[in-house]
Symmetry: D2
Subunit: 334 residues, 4 copies
């Protein structure tokens, strides 16, 4: 960490700050320029809050030299993490497609979609049982019944399932769920993250709508700090000023995250765009950019879907997308 002091900082002020920093276990290297004095702080700065130092009258600015994330950092874990989900793997050379409806609505619906996406190339079944909705008056999901229906689909098709959790108290219901999803709005629900650190099940952590990649990695760090290193990161679109698409899918997050972290990166093109006919080009683009997986909404009857119908593919279209995704994978895996 580097602290740039203002021109007027006195000897005594500098000494006080140095003593305070050294008490926190840091070595302080002082270098004086014509206009500025610079303190280089060597040691474990992860426990020092840069804003605290920046707030001192004598300090002009503070800059972290090392990333604040440790367990998620590729520097300390150079090899790709490979997460196991039943017999499947994701990360490194392993690529998986997760598909299914936005919400689980009925036994017929989820079983029909599950069989269909399984046949056309999806390896993991997705489906919402607990639904975070902006309005308290909107459909909130089938909850525990939804999870039961997913488990039935898992039993019939053999596909592992991924579904979203909104409350740590619900964890017992997720006992047989294979991947627990944390939604974008809960990315910084730190109490939920801590609870997920105490288990060992894979967590699919979605990036918040206006969060940076560093914040996403810090949220992964919360779970990892508890001992659960089975994290799959997911980019699902961020908020921008564009209005034709619901959100803006940040595909540069793929190569950037792959450089910063060893964790696998999955893309959700359905939520990002909110428009079914954009799912195919964005799924192909995500694959070309090096994603470790995709999570795609598929619906057997968009007209009667209770939510998010706009962004769901029919099973026929999904099969076409999955086929072309495999071809792009061949090019990028060469």
């Amino acid at each position: 960490m580097i602290a740039v002091l203002k021109q007027g900082a006195t000897e005594e002020q500098i000494k006080n700050l140095t003593v305070w920093l050294e008490k926190r276990g840091l070595c302080v290297h002082l270098s004086k320029g014509e206009f500025h004095t610079i303190l280089g702080l060597i040691g474990d700065t992860s426990k020092i809050d840069p804003e605290l130092i920046e707030g001192l009258e004598m300090v002009d600015s503070v800059k972290r030299v090392s990333e604040p994330f440790k367990s998620a950092n590729r520097k300390f874990h150079p090899d790709d993490s490979i997460i196991e989900i039943g017999n499947l793997k994701i990360g490194g050379p392993h690529f998986q497609i997760m598909a299914g409806p936005c919400s689980v609505e009925s036994s017929e619906q989820i079983l029909s979609i599950a069989h269909s996406v399984c046949a056309s190339g999806a390896s993991i079944l997705r489906g919402g049982a607990f639904k975070p909705r902006t309005s308290p008056y909107d459909f909130q999901g089938l909850k525990a019944d939804g999870i039961e229906l997913l488990l039935e689909a898992k039993k019939q098709t053999g596909m592992p399932i991924v579904t979203e959790i909104m409350n740590a108290n619900h964890l017992p219901m997720f006992e047989h769920v294979d991947i627990i999803q944390v939604g974008a709005r809960n990315m910084q629900n730190f109490e939920l993250l801590k609870a997920l650190g105490t288990i060992r099940k894979p967590v699919l952590l979605k990036r918040g709508l206006a969060n940076t990649l560093q914040e996403l990695l810090m949220s992964a760090e919360y779970i990892m700090a508890g001992g659960n290193h089975n994290i799959i990161l997911c980019e699902r679109g961020i908020r921008t000023f564009e209005t034709y698409t619901r959100n803006t899918l940040d595909l540069s997050a793929i190569p950037m995250l792959r450089e910063l972290t060893h964790l696998p990166v999955v893309i959700d093109p359905s939520h990002a765009c909110g428009i079914a006919r954009l799912v195919q080009p964005m799924a192909l683009a995500a694959t070309a950019a090096g994603a470790h997986g995709l999570i795609i909404e598929v619906h057997n009857d968009p007209l009667h879907a209770l939510c998010d119908g706009a962004q769901s593919l029919t099973p026929e279209l999904f099969a076409e997308v999955a086929k072309r995704v495999r071809k792009i994978r061949e090019v990028v895996s060469e």
Copy 2:
């Protein structure tokens, strides 16, 4: 709600959609133009998801005519809500200043600050016991001990206290807290909002860093839908591209919210700017724009604060701010 259909929509498609909407209790008014057909939907549209309809192939766009929030809506509750906090009131003509440290650190600290801000014009004591931090390695607050210390300060000074909750399971600890704060990162933690709907204590609901005013009001609606109408809204700065200030305080939220809702609106100039010397001008500006209250960080020793020192005022500076705020109040209350 208005649905604009595409040029090519067939008679049968229009009929099917009309039947589907009528089944949901709506009256459908059809009006045909040269290029577009428009469906006007009359009735309780709050339970219809506009994105579901927008997703249909035949639909060009959908527009809500009425706001999706009801209990928080000034149209249905024209008079200002006045929230009672012990003997104090906030809302309508009642203005309050909340002040105190970012985090409760020790008995001496909180008691010293409490006595000091009480003497210089604050009427409610703020202080963090549970601290949401981006990094799992940062100080997370004194938790239950912090609340005990706040209650001791309340006892000595008679000031009601406001402090943040992060987990609905902690509610029993908040039994004697006067106002429960929901932080920006939890604004859309819907499970927490639902839990706060089941109690009757005032809730200070902070706007999320990248959330719209409508989303803030929908989160208030979540609490109100549970029966708790004691909501105080709080603007604390939103994320923009500006980097000199930590966030950008959106003061136009004050007159805009006062028009949209009957709930009181409080401004937090300390978190918004992240710079202590900006707190005074922004506190005065917020007051001039018609805020019902301010929440200001005050610290007796910014050098040793464990967090957020950059944005805290000394008690002397706070006294000066409080004095000038009262003068601005006189002008705007005329």
Copy 3:
């Protein structure tokens, strides 16, 4: 256009507004609901400013049903536009790679890069002669001399050239330039756009850093309104809160623009990310998403580049990128 009137709008107000609108050549269809009155405006609404009507006391909101862009609109021009650049074509099935240095620096530099990118698959040579820089103290380009050097490279390699204009008074210098580029910061320099409408040379119009796709299309419309329909749209990254990448490349702009307009869409992965090692994955992703072309920075000596070295590829890396781009093209063109 649809205007939703407030509940309290009087008969006389509605009549006055109707008369005013009819004078402007519109038919007004009135439909009354329980809570709202809706005016449907039929006719050429492109000359009506929605904000003017929205400003009236009696009006709740106004919504455009048709897009405000006409010449650029695919609805009125269903076939892809194919722009001719010398013997080359771009748009529809025609894909081109533009490559070259950020700035033209010397004869040796531009000739060396030109020969190299020409050999490895670029068909158009890019290079900045006039450079828009945030600081007046930064290098502003070789200006007229830079254009001369580009023309020499064109002569030697036969490649058409694309370079940026910043001032309509410079147009005579661009006489032999093949494609004139409008940079992101000038996307809404309407006087420059009007001047480019008076010529017939292809224009590469870059999207502004915080502009929507509709605004980009309206800027294309400015040029087309003057009679120049040879427009190539270019997405080059938008401003978001992410800091690891300089900007965020919005690849969903590709399928979205292809739906909205008939104009070709080109992607600039170099400026968007600002990091050379992200150029390859983003170039592949852009191709997979259906772009009509790429514009890529290539530098023979990044260490000594006068600007933007961070985002430039070496010629060897460029050759590798071009090869893989062609393979992705094969998959998406099937």
Copy 4:
């Protein structure tokens, strides 16, 4: 400037970079830590492009210690700049209200408004003659005729006038204009800024919709680098995700800019909100936050205004606003 090198940087790489930097007139101070090597660059770094250095393989990150703006920097010019406009002054203790219509429409209109705002407290007349419009089909202003009408109003009332320029070629028409305005969309039209640097007339420079304060100051620097130091900065709202207001007025820009620069800061509450009834609270707030002036739209007949009617006050409301602004000024000037 500080450059943080990566762990693997070799001695030779460091030496090469040091030589390169020293050739550019900088002293290089090297300090080695366990994980990082830091180069402190002392001297005039304003001509070094940080992105160029950041792009080198061996460099982790680069941080400017000094601001890149010089002439606009308060560090080198500690006293407030006071700009003279005829007999009026703005800046330091001098506060002025500019008022008038969005667009000049007719002789009657501009004369009537000019007399009215002059009587109720405005000291400078504003009015648009050249109008930047997103659509080429929208009203573009009366142009030269509009300036003639403003000059007639100036003659009758004695008020200096401020109006927007969009094209440096139009400068001769602005000979008798007192303040030349640069609109938000032209804030980074560097060719226009350079042209305004060659004259000595006051320039009102508006912040772009998605620009930072540093970029605003760099644009001021462009004009000042040419020799024209008569700059008035103007905040007029920035783009955020909020949709109830057109833009978000960033009032923290006032104290922040007053700290960073000696130039006066004026606020435009009309364009920012786009809603006439928000103009009063935001004008009062801007004054309380320490603005040096306001620029407010006033219209004598909002119904027939050709543009921006939504954000214009009637002359009666303007008189009320001006009266209360004066009272707030009294409090903040104490």
